[in-house]
């Protein structure tokens, strides 16, 4: 039976968001360049297209925002938020952070990350169940990024909740971002930054306060307070929300694949590839947006300068042209590379940290809880425009 209707994709429709894969498959096959009239945006869904657009930063820029409603709002992006910048300022600003999140540096904090997991999970042993998101997904990444930044533990939760609140959206409409979302990203951190200026420590915030930035003309200067705030806000937001969702997906997908979960319990050396497959299979940040700076052609249609192009990375990860049986979850799958962390100049700076956190969380869960079932009556989705996943994923353990 073939579906003769035109496929429709709407990033603000919660019903579509619940399982967007069938509509993305139709877009890949029937409308590889998709145009949405309601919100006036184009979308690419095939791996090859998404990867190419990710590399062509001169044509598909981030400087007007990288979220659909942000670009549409026409707001001027504040400086220092590398997600919303293009070269040369992007490269200068990113350069300051590039050496902070390397795989080696992240490997060095593994013992602390493990301890954060243990602290969250140990009290739950024998309790009959726990929540993958509330009890670990929202805890460990917050403590890890808080530790790296130097935020006191008793303030971490309030800051994380404020960030989550700022990202939340209502059903069925493009959110109005005149509320200053982009501008206030760093709020909540002012007092720590001002305090750290006088009380330097061995943390990222101190490093940023002291960092010297080289301007395009070669002059060197320290970061402004606004720039430090912007960096800190970005790191806190990016470091919390996405990994929280990854850990939620881990709980859901492995509950649906109990044989593979048992394999992981029997052989923990399979965990890193399982995380890679989870990243491919359920990308926590499935859709990115770019502003198009010149007329371009895709699949025989011209996309005019000034358009918004959405690149659906989570669809690219399920592209049957690239992955065999893409809708099958397989912890043994050999993955050349997926696009969950993006590709090119904006490649996720925190990729090594996310992989570490995902791996350690799964390791520590399996050690204590080899089996679980999702308590669907009490599970709840998260609804934000940039991140897809679970707000609550309670599970029952025997």
């Amino acid at each position: 039976m073939s579906d003769t209707t035109t496929p429709y994709y709407d990033p603000y429709d919660f019903d579509i968001d619940a399982d967007p894969y069938p509509v993305w498959r139709r877009l890949r096959n029937e409308a590889p360049l998709y145009y949405n009239e309601k919100y006036d945006f184009y979308a690419l869904t095939r791996f090859e297209d998404v990867e190419r657009v990710s590399l062509e930063w001169q044509t598909y820029i981030s400087g007007k925002g990288s979220v659909l409603e942000l670009i549409k709002s026409g707001l001027v992006m504040p400086p220092g938020n590398i997600l919303f910048e293009d070269p040369p300022s992007h490269d200068l600003h990113r350069g300051l952070l590039a050496r902070v999140f390397t795989p080696r540096r992240m490997a060095a904090i593994e013992p602390q990350v493990r301890e954060f997991c243990a602290r969250s999970l140990d009290p739950l042993v024998g309790s009959g169940g726990f929540d993958f998101v509330r009890d670990i997904g929202a805890q460990m990444p917050m403590r890890t990024i808080g530790m790296l930044l130097g935020i006191p533990e008793d303030h971490q939760e309030a800051i994380r909740d404020q960030i989550d609140e700022g990202m939340r959206i209502a059903e069925g409409a493009m959110p109005d971002r005149d509320d200053g979302y982009a501008v206030t990203m760093g709020s909540g951190f002012e007092e720590y930054i001002d305090w750290r200026v006088d009380h330097p420590s061995d943390d990222l915030m101190t490093e940023l306060i002291n960092a010297e930035l080289e301007e395009p003309d070669g002059t060197r200067r320290k970061l402004t307070r606004e720039e430090v705030l912007s960096y800190v806000g970005l790191i806190a937001a990016a470091g919390n929300e996405t990994t929280t969702r990854l850990i939620g997906w881990t709980g859901k997908v492995l509950a649906e694949n109990p044989e593979q979960r048992a394999e992981l319990v029997a052989d923990p050396s399979l965990v890193p590839n399982a995380i890679e497959e989870l990243l491919r299979y359920e990308a926590p940040s499935p859709i990115q947006a770019r502003y198009v700076t010149r007329d371009v052609e895709h699949h025989g249609t011209t996309v005019p300068e000034g358009s918004v192009m959405c690149i659906i990375t989570a669809s690219a990860n399920r592209d049957e042209r690239r992955f065999e049986e893409p809708d099958r979850f397989d912890i043994h799958r050999k993955i050349d590379h997926h696009l969950t962390f993006g590709f090119g100049i904006h490649f996720c700076l925190g990729a090594a940290l996310a992989r570490l956190e995902g791996r350690v969380a799964l390791d520590e869960v399996l050690k204590r809880f080899p089996t679980w079932e999702v308590d669907w009556d009490n599970a709840e989705r998260a609804h934000t425009t940039t991140v897809r996943g679970w707000e609550r994923l309670p599970v029952l353990t025997s």
Partner: protein, 67 residues
Amino acid sequence: MPGWRVVVDFDLCESNAVCAGLAPEVFEVRDDDFLYLLDEQPPDALRERVQDAVRQCPKQAISIEET
């Protein structure tokens, strides 16, 4: 004799170490967290794996130059 050479753009490199995993004979990320090119003109037997590294480098910092 025609050959090939590995070129790394160190301004782009962020030590993601994808290349070091694919072709450890050619790429190494050392204790200082910087990438070192161990063999600029590797044997042809390694070409395929170096090409994997070129393709998979998320920052697209590696290229092959025909000499």
